[in-house]
């Protein structure tokens, strides 16, 4: 991977902007916390219901009782912090395109910055944040932590990740599901180059209560490969080779196949109540967070 720093000055400034932006956006909505599906004891009104025997009289709305002569219990929003799990695919195929000239479009670097951006926001929101980096050399985990005090360590952790070897995404996802971590938003950042069908693993994650988000990263070179002629293509991850004679026709069908693959992944995620976001590494990462993820309702 390129030697340039993952979190250079410019990227750090953008991280700050992202955080400020997300805070400003949130200011009009809720103050610092995420809404729970359980009714709780906060001061936010949620609904009324009829009084039942045994209810806490402190929660009876006396003003309504005086007006209507009927007892109603005031239901208030419960508030809880969010659990954010980010899984970064650090297989070798993510280290693409290689070389300093293409560093800004490198998938792994993009994945690092997206993960940092999301985790930074989550820490700032006091959400419970956990980041996993999985490579062929093993896996590393940051957190769970909450609070801004962990920002610098988060960046150090993410910058320390190195792509290596082959990653069995199916096994990794199943393991995450089995770990029984606190259900929350589960973000998978990957190029999804895996020959195994991930449906079962995703099912298990969804069953464990996670809300799934797949950030599918591909570089422009993968969208429109600048290849032609008689070639022997070698997979950098598996080392496997394939001889192809690439002409206009084959490239056309490659594009069709790529579209079909993306559509299938999207369908798989949506069917499990998750979200799918395709990311071309040509797109600035902060725009992905502030525009695309906001569009999906992930970031407010």
């Amino acid at each position: 991977m390129a030697e340039a720093r993952v979190f250079d000055e410019r990227t750090l400034r953008r991280l700050e902007q992202v955080m400020l932006w997300s805070q400003r956006a949130r200011a009009g909505a809720m103050k610092g916390e995420r809404r729970s599906i359980r009714r709780g004891t906060s001061i936010e009104f949620a609904d009324y219901r009829d009084y039942a025997y045994g209810d806490d009289l402190r929660r009876l709305d006396w003003n309504v009782y005086a007006r209507l002569q009927r007892p109603y219990i005031k239901l208030l929003e419960d508030e809880e912090d969010l659990a954010l799990h980010i899984l970064i695919d650090a297989s070798v195929s993510m280290d693409w395109p290689a070389g300093d000239a293409d560093a800004e479009r490198n998938k792994f670097r993009h994945a690092q910055r997206l993960a940092a951006g999301l985790a930074w926001c989550a820490l700032a929101s006091n959400d419970r944040t956990q980041v996993h980096g999985v490579s062929g050399a093993g896996s590393a985990t940051f957190g769970p932590h909450r609070g801004r005090g962990h920002n610098l360590r988060l960046l150090d952790f993410i910058a320390g990740l190195q792509p290596a070897g082959e990653v069995d995404l199916d096994a990794v996802l199943r393991e995450q599901a089995l770990r029984g971590a606190r259900p929350g938003l589960f973000v998978l950042i990957s190029d999804m180059y895996t020959p195994v069908n991930l449906t079962d693993a995703l099912n298990e994650l969804a069953a464990a209560g996670h809300e799934l988000l797949l950030l599918h990263l591909l570089s422009p070179e993968e969208l429109e490969p600048p290849l032609a002629g008689d070639l022997r293509l070698i997979d950098v991850e598996s080392g496997g080779a394939r001889e192809v004679s690439i002409d206009g026709n084959l490239r056309e069908r490659y594009a069709q196949r790529l579209d079909a693959w993306r559509a299938q992944l999207r369908r798989t995620l949506l069917q499990r109540g998750g979200h799918y976001l395709f990311v071309n590494t040509d797109t600035p990462w902060e725009r992905v967070i502030l525009r695309d993820l906001r569009g999906l309702g992930i970031v407010r």
């Binding site: 190029d191 032609a228 070639l231 997979d235 496997g240 001889e243 069908r253």
Partner: protein, 629 residues
């Protein structure tokens, strides 16, 4: 189809390395990609598809094998057997005479048709055949000798142009048969309309001669003569002749231009195969040149296939030579000499009528003189009485010790050792110089007096044996050269196309050039002697100009005309006559080999282009497509 070099087919073995390269796929470039997952899925689909897909991938291989096959076939020089006009050492005689300009064949002139025949003959050449190409015009022209290079032959045939004059067939046939002695396998191909001229002048031909005739019709109207005659005391007279070589009576309009101005234009009817002689009297009093032209009336249905002979030029007779008027009671010696000298136009004066009104360059007064002496130069022979120029002495007899004044141009090469003179009358002329002397009194004097040149023979040539000696014509020629310097030309005023003529520029000439009928100027070198001018390929008036200090000081013209009945008679012949034998139009009986490798090579080139296009499309297929969102 047969092959000239079947060994070249061994080149097909080159297909093996091509196939080997494809099989080994040595040319595959290795490239790393993040994943081959998508490509694998794609190729699994492809391979599950029709065999055509596999064929598509190998299209380049097929095209390359096709290119190789075409190239190998081309190198093997395939041919088909076609009938040919000749084989072995072939001499191709291409008629380029004036009649070959006739337009009676489709698509152009007879010469073009002859070129087509020649090209066909060349394209059917066998591998070992060699062609000598001769263009038969005024002089036979060897275009290419014993060549097997078809391209060079085609180019030589394409570049050949028809001439405007008569063809010299005897010379051409002699030249052609010069090669016979050196070869057993010799054939002669004549491409001609058959107008070979007088058959008695042509050599006998061997058996293997083929004649490929061109031309189809004989309709032609021609001016076959145009001449002027100057008559003493009267305007010049024009004689012209129009000939109809066709088989039908025809109408023509004959126009005459005198010094560039149209003076007559008359309608005539000429019977089929007949001449129409015309004499025109009503000509201007003085003029230099006449141009006659024939036109066919628009309404006429008779075509005129040859235009070359529809124009003719003539200069007024005597325009170049010196005009000499002879008054004599009878002197055969003088008359013979005058007749034999070039550039002299002699006229005989009538003793009873006296001097004509017209002026002459020289008047010869033999034993007679008029009351008043004529203007111009004078040559007295045995004057009977004195006049203003000289006085006569007593008649003398038996001249002895005759000697010639040495170092004088007028007596150059004159040897009078054995000459005797029986009687003479001494003449006293103080202005004159004695050229021949006997016993201290002059036999011949010459000099200039009153602005003119005068010479006097003091004896009667009949009373001397001088006229029987070789010295007589030499002396007369010297004298006439002194009276009138010789013209620039050694020839008559009208020449045929292609004729050569000798030029005689004055010794002090600074330069010499010829103005051709098309207006162009041709400078001639004075260093070479004799000075010959043979570039008379155009019809019309030529003018020779003598230059001194950049100015034209003297000029003389001559006309070049076709005037050749053999060329104007364009009717294609049914038989060719050579001496005592004849030749019918030849069918092509020999076998020729028509090679077609250029077409096969062209096919290879086209397939190569196709292969390049296919390759480029494969390379550039995607990068040319718009980026997908």
């Amino acid at each position: 189809m047969q092959l000239l070099t079947p060994l070249a087919l061994a080149g097909a073995l080159l297909a093996l390395p091509i196939l080997l390269l494809y099989m080994l796929r040595l040319r595959r470039q290795e490239l790393e990609v993040p994943s081959i997952m998508l490509w694998q899925q794609l190729l699994q689909d492809t391979e599950a598809n029709t065999p055509w897909q596999r064929l598509r991938r190998n299209l380049l291989l097929l095209l390359q094998l096709l290119i190789l096959a075409a190239l190998v076939l081309a190198l093997a020089r395939p041919f088909i057997v076609v009938p040919a006009a000749g084989s072995g050492q072939i001499v191709l005689l291409l008629d380029a005479s004036a009649s070959m300009n006739a337009s009676d064949v489709e698509g152009g002139s007879r010469f073009r048709a002859a070129q087509d025949e020649a090209r066909a003959a060349v394209s059917a050449l066998g591998a070992n055949d060699r062609v000598t190409l001769i263009r038969v015009a005024e002089q036979p022209q060897l275009l290419l000798a014993a060549s097997n290079d078809r391209l060079a032959l085609q180019v030589a045939i394409d570049n050949a142009r028809p001439g405007l004059g008569s063809a010299d067939w005897p010379a051409a046939l002699t030249l052609a048969m010069g090669g016979m002695a050196q070869s057993d396998d010799f054939s002669l191909v004549i491409i001609s309309d058959g107008g070979l001229g007088d058959p008695t002048l042509l050599p006998e031909l061997p058996d293997n001669v083929t004649w490929l005739p061109v031309g189809s019709a004989g309709d032609n109207l021609a001016i076959t003569a145009l001449a002027t005659r100057r008559r003493a005391g009267q305007p010049a007279q024009l004689f012209t002749r129009v000939t109809n070589h066709g088989a039908r009576d025809a109408e023509v309009v004959l126009s005459l231009k005198v010094d560039g101005e149209l003076v007559a234009s008359a309608y005539h009817e000429v019977e089929a195969g007949a001449d129409l002689p015309l004499v025109v009297e009503a000509l201007p009093a003085s003029f230099r040149r006449i141009e006659a032209s024939l036109t066919i009336p628009v309404a006429s249905e008779i075509p005129d296939h040859l235009e070359l002979d529809n124009q003719a030029w003539a200069l007024v007779e005597g325009g170049s030579g010196s005009r000499v008027l002879l008054f004599t009671p009878g002197n055969r010696f003088i008359e013979e000499v005058l007749r034999s000298l070039p550039g002299v136009e002699a006229f005989r004066g009538d003793l009873s009528a006296g001097l004509p009104r017209e002026a002459y360059d020289l008047t010869i007064l033999d034993r007679w003189q008029p009351e008043r002496l004529p203007v111009g130069d004078l040559l007295f022979i045995n004057p009977q009485r004195g006049n203003a120029l000289f006085t006569l002495g007593e008649e003398q007899e038996f001249a002895q010790d005759i000697h010639v004044t040495p170092g004088d141009a007028r007596t150059r090469f004159v040897d009078l050792d054995d000459v005797s003179v029986q009687r003479w009358t001494p003449v006293d002329a103080p202005w004159a110089q004695t050229l021949i002397e006997a016993d201290g009194s002059p036999l011949l004097l010459a000099g200039e007096v009153d602005g003119r040149q005068v010479a006097i023979f003091t004896f009667d040539v009949h009373r001397s044996d001088l006229a029987l000696q070789i010295a007589w014509p030499v002396l007369m020629a010297n004298l006439l050269d002194w009276f009138a310097p010789p013209g620039l030309l050694s020839a008559r005023d009208s020449l045929a196309v292609g004729d050569a003529l000798q030029l005689r520029p004055p010794p002090d000439a600074g330069g010499l050039r010829v103005r051709l009928p098309d207006g162009s100027l041709q400078e001639l070198s004075l260093a070479r002697r004799p000075l010959l001018f043979a570039d008379t390929q155009q019809q019309g008036i030529y003018t020779i100009e003598v230059l001194e200090g950049g100015n034209v000081t003297r000029s003389q013209s001559f006309a070049v005309n076709l005037f050749d009945a053999a060329e104007s008679d364009i009717l294609p012949r049914e038989l060719l006559f050579f001496g005592q034998s004849s030749l019918a139009p030849g069918a092509r009986e020999e076998e020729g080999q028509l090679e077609f490798w250029p077409w096969v090579a062209l096919l290879a080139l086209m397939v190569l282009l196709l292969e390049w296009v296919v390759y480029q499309r494969r390379r550039a297929g995607l990068t040319l497509r718009p980026r997908r969102p």
